[in-house]
């Protein structure tokens, strides 16, 4: 058994402690240690984006971050996206416009799309497509995903 490390981190504003093996990824820690299973594993090589989370305000693939690296950082996951009873406009638009089918890639896409809209509140279709190029979806063909992001952006701008 490899030595375990004690890590303290903040997830969605709450402080968490966990013990992790040195090779464990942040994704493994979120899912297996903290039971925050909204963040999904699709590849564990940084190619599919299903495990997208924010770390200190930066969009990362949590499968490419070690659990120990999360120490002292602020992690934001899909579980923190809705505020109380109010869904984030992106979540709402994905529901209304059928921006999801099976839903396995949806948490990662929502986290990534929120990061885009925080940076660029008025993206073009092409900008949305390139920003989400790191998030694989096999069900939708992306059409309704892109439309939902554009619609949420419009709503968030108050347009």
């Amino acid at each position: 058994m490899s030595k375990k490390y004690h890590v303290t981190t903040s997830v969605n504003g709450d402080e968490y402690d966990f013990l992790c093996e040195p090779q464990q990824s942040l994704l493994d820690v979120l899912r297996d240690n903290l039971m925050l299973t909204g963040t999904k594993e699709g590849c564990a090589t940084g190619d599919c984006g299903a495990c997208s989370v924010m770390m200190d305000g930066r969009l990362v693939c949590s499968c490419l971050v070690l659990g120990v690296e999360a120490g002292g950082k602020k992690i934001e996951t899909i579980e923190g996206m809705a505020k109380g009873d109010t869904l984030h406009p992106l979540q709402q638009k994905f529901l209304e416009l059928n921006g999801l089918q099976c839903g396995i890639c949806t948490p990662g896409i929502l986290v990534a799309a929120r990061a885009l809209l925080e940076k660029n509140p008025d993206p073009s279709e092409t900008e949305v497509r390139y920003w989400l190029a790191g998030n694989l979806c096999r069900c939708t063909g992306y059409d309704k995903v892109i439309r939902a992001v554009m619609a949420a952006a419009t709503e968030m701008r108050g347009a």
């Binding site: 058994m1 490899s2 093996e21 090779q23 899912r31 039971m35 925050l36 299973t37 909204g38 963040t39 999904k40 594993e41 699709g42 590849c43 564990a44 090589t45 190619d47 599919c48 299903a50 996951t77 899909i78 579980e79 996206m81 809705a82 869904l87 979540q91 994905f94 529901l95 209304e96 416009l97 059928n98 999801l100 089918q101 099976c102 839903g103 396995i104 890639c105 949806t106 948490p107 279709e125 092409t126 949305v128 497509r129 390139y130 989400l132 190029a133 790191g134 998030n135 694989l136 979806c137 096999r138 069900c139 939708t140 063909g141 992306y142 059409d143 309704k144 995903v145 892109i146 439309r147």
Partner: protein
């Protein structure tokens, strides 16, 4: 008095309130908040983690396996090999299944399981795998199906003889599972009438379904021999019965609960980890969770068949196709099961043809066993068929859609496989394509446009469901068919439509295998149709019962009660002046009438209406690199009746982009050593958002006369024409039609260079 679904005919006069709208999916809320529970999202107390040791060789005799060091590692609770599975004869269905789960005499592909370990942590399980000592006698391998048919090819199974073969070769060991001939009339006489004949050979490579959710399961084998299995599957009942066959455990003792399904597309119709986790759990006496890695998914779960097709097609000057003669070869991995006979049945079904002959071969080879993918074995062949059709249209000098319209089948057509079609919508679909904005717009400069058409049977089959009326008048539907993209919501909508109540008063859930009767696999575009029949039938049974209860409460004859908009009412003023009774009014008082009200239905559903589609694609090909960009894409398809139009569009769009991947990028690349060289999403590159445009859709609605609302399945059809349409578009852009999938930049560039040399 409501009628129970005895004659499930289409009612053309029905006015819809809910069907045809697109309310938010009930399962969507948990999916946007991260709370939906997919297979890998479950944990059990005391759970161990299981991992699989896989063969590094594509073909070898499994001489010996020594597990002693692994079993002795602290934290390891069970190690299993072939010795832990019942012996079942080779060359039988169950014999093949058990050998796919765990190798016995030989390993047949790189990634074939040879042992599995359950341990207290993943890292210990992985460490234990390295301590298992396996001795292989490596054999020559063969992966390409055409190579595998050659007389000197390495033979996978000494016992295999070709089904349907005649002559001296019929008795020799072979890799050809079956030779199948489907023919009508006389192709030679047909070609004798032809003014134009085209003939080409096409090849396609294995590609993967590409679902994002990794297969995962938890098995718990209790001391009394009861198995609880949690997994992602399109086919819980099929899994149960196959597990019974290979593990010799009674079906009644295997309870499978399906999780949310994170994509399947046919790839989750067969099990991989499930038997291993059950046997590990039995041995370790703990629940065992197993999850595949992406590399394992690509190396060891079924990609589609690679194919080679030779297609010869002839027509008269007036555009009438007179004969088609084809030879098709399907690669199936080490065991039969490609469903290759779909291809000769479906590849041409949409054209009125007098003389057809198709000779098909299914061939084993050293790659993972094929699994289904939307319209199994059909899109690969349509890739060639639609090239021949377009080329003949050009030779005759007809518009490509007009040429297809001239040869299109209509109601009353007798198919090559013996079915006579009821009302179908191929002509309407072609006409809608001709009238759509995309087809009427000129092809942009520097681009090429392609069109292609496709067909799928659509399926029915054994289906069971239950519906319960709660005391507050709300409705709960219990389904057995897996929900691959929103079918639970379509079921809730159909029930709400029958009752005339808001859809939010209906909820659909997915049952485990002990809670309902048999349900066939969710595949073949059957679920919304088949489970929909069950739901409508169950709702009508409940409505009949509500009327009976109202009659009893009012003390009037049953015929005196009608049901509309969620209420029982007197049929006329002659019956009496009663206040309408709501579903809640009756359901809340069942204690005083005859007890709880439920509807239940089981059917072997028939009458699935066939579906047809036309795809129109504009592409641009980079002259320097050969890179193809899809610029515009329109799908026109007959859905019969779209229950939820947004969901139907989603099926079309998703299939189109899978087709773009298959057409342009996706393929299994094997090294000379028989190992997969691209077992990850970086090198096995599926389309990303920036690779594709918006996908336009036109939903045609020609009702299926065998369904109360007229619906037809829509899952398979929209993949069938995709690569054919893209191939035709590239052909029109560069002047030479590619005939090998995927149409990579290198292949397209080579075609352009060859074309330039030829002048």
């Amino acid at each position: 008095m409501a009628t129970i679904l005895e004659k499930p005919g289409f009612n053309p006069d029905r006015q819809y309130k809910i069907v045809g709208t697109s309310p938010v999916k009930h399962d969507g809320f948990d999916k946007v908040t991260g709370r939906a529970k997919f297979a890998a999202d479950a944990f059990l107390p005391g759970m161990l983690i299981g991992k699989v040791l896989r063969s590094p060789h594509p073909h070898a005799v499994l001489k010996s396996i020594d597990i002693s060091k692994a079993a002795a590692l602290p934290g390891v609770k069970a190690v299993i090999t072939r010795d832990d599975f019942p012996e079942i004869k080779q060359g039988t269905g169950a014999g093949d299944m058990t050998r796919i789960a765990m190798a016995r005499e030989k390993v047949y592909w790189e990634g074939h399981p040879v042992a599995a370990v359950a341990a207290t942590s993943e890292s210990i399980a992985k460490k234990a795998l390295k301590l298992i000592d396996v001795h292989y006698e490596v054999l020559p391998h063969v992966i390409d199906p055409v190579e595998a048919m050659k007389p000197d090819a390495p033979i996978l199974h000494d016992y295999m003889r070709t089904k349907g073969a005649k002559g001296p070769d019929a008795e020799k060991p072979t890799n050809v599972v079956e030779r199948s001939v489907l023919a009508i009339c006389d192709v030679d006489a047909g070609f004798a009438q032809a003014d134009f004949i085209v003939e080409h050979t096409y090849d396609t490579k294995p590609m993967h379904q590409g679902y994002i959710e990794l297969q995962s399961c938890i098995a718990n084998y209790s001391d009394d021999g009861q198995v609880d299995l949690w997994c992602c599957t399109q086919a819980p009942w099929v899994y149960r019965d196959r597990l019974t066959e290979i593990l010799k455990i009674d079906s009644s003792k295997i309870r499978i609960q399906q999780s949310e399904l994170g994509g399947g597309f046919g790839g989750k119709t067969t099990f991989y980890l499930e038997p291993l986790s059950i046997v590990l759990s039995r041995k370790a006496k703990c629940p065992v969770k197993m999850t595949l890695t992406r590399s394992e998914v690509l190396r060891a779960t079924g990609p589609v068949s690679g194919t080679q097709s030779t297609i010869k097609m002839g027509c008269k000057k007036d555009g009438t196709i007179v004969a088609v003669d084809s030879t098709l070869i399907f690669q199936t991995g080490p065991y039969t099961g490609s469903a290759f006979t779909n291809a000769p049945q479906a590849m041409l079904t949409r054209y009125e043809l007098k003389n057809v002959r198709t000779v098909s071969y299914e061939v084993v080879s050293n790659r993972p066993k094929v699994s289904s993918f939307r319209a199994p074995c059909v899109p690969q062949v349509v890739f060639g068929v639609e090239d021949c059709v377009s080329e003949l249209a050009r030779k005759v000098g007809m518009d490509e859609l007009d040429f297809r319209l001239k040869n299109a089948i209509v109601e009353g057509h007798k198919t090559i496989y013996g079915e006579t079609f009821n009302r179908i919508g191929f002509v309407e679909t072609l006409e809608a394509a001709k009238n759509c904005d995309h087809y009427k717009s000129p092809v942009p400069k520097g681009q090429g446009r392609g069109i292609a058409t496709g067909f799928w049977f659509n399926r029915g089959g054994e289906t069971t469901g239950t519906m319960n009326l709660a005391p507050d008048g709300t409705v709960n539907i219990i389904l057995g068919t897996a929900d691959v993209a929103g079918s639970r919501m379509s079921m809730s909508m159909m029930a709400a439509e029958e009752f005339g109540i808001p859809v939010d008063r209906v909820r659909s859930v997915l049952a485990d295998t002990n809670s309902l009767g048999y349900n066939r696999v969710t595949a073949g575009s059957r679920t919304t149709f088949s489970s929909g029949m069950i739901v409508i039938d169950s709702a009508r049974k409940i409505i009949a019962e509500l009327c009976r209860r109202a009659a009893k409460i009012w003390n009037v004859p049953e015929e005196g009660v009608i049901f509309e908009d969620g209420h029982c009412r007197p049929a006329s003023s002659n019956v009496g002046n009663f206040e309408p009774l709501s579903m809640k009014d009756i359901a809340s008082k069942t204690t005083y009438t005859m007890g709880a009200i439920a509807g239940h239905s089981e059917m072997n559903v028939t009458g699935a209406g066939p579906g047809f589609a036309v795809h129109i694609v504009d592409v641009e090909v980079d002259k320097e690199t050969g890179l193809t960009s899809v610029k515009r894409y329109t799908i026109v398809e007959d859905a019969g009746k779209a229950i939820s139009p947004l969901q139907v569009e989603g099926q079309f769009q998703g299939a189109a982009v899978q087709g773009i991947g298959w057409a342009l990028n996706e393929e299994y690349i094997f090294g000379d050593d028989g190992r997969l060289q691209n077992p990850g999403f970086l090198d096995y590159r599926m389309p990303v958002a920036s690779d594709v445009p918006m996908i336009d859709t036109v939903i045609v609605e020609v009702p299926n006369p065998k369904h109360p609302y007229g619906l037809r399945g829509v899952g398979e059809v929209p993949l069938t024409p995709a690569m054919g349409a893209i191939g035709n578009a590239i052909g029109n852009a560069i002047g030479i039609r590619p005939r090998s999938l995927p149409m990579t930049p290198a292949k397209v560039l080579a075609l352009m260079e060859a074309g330039a040399k030829a002048g």
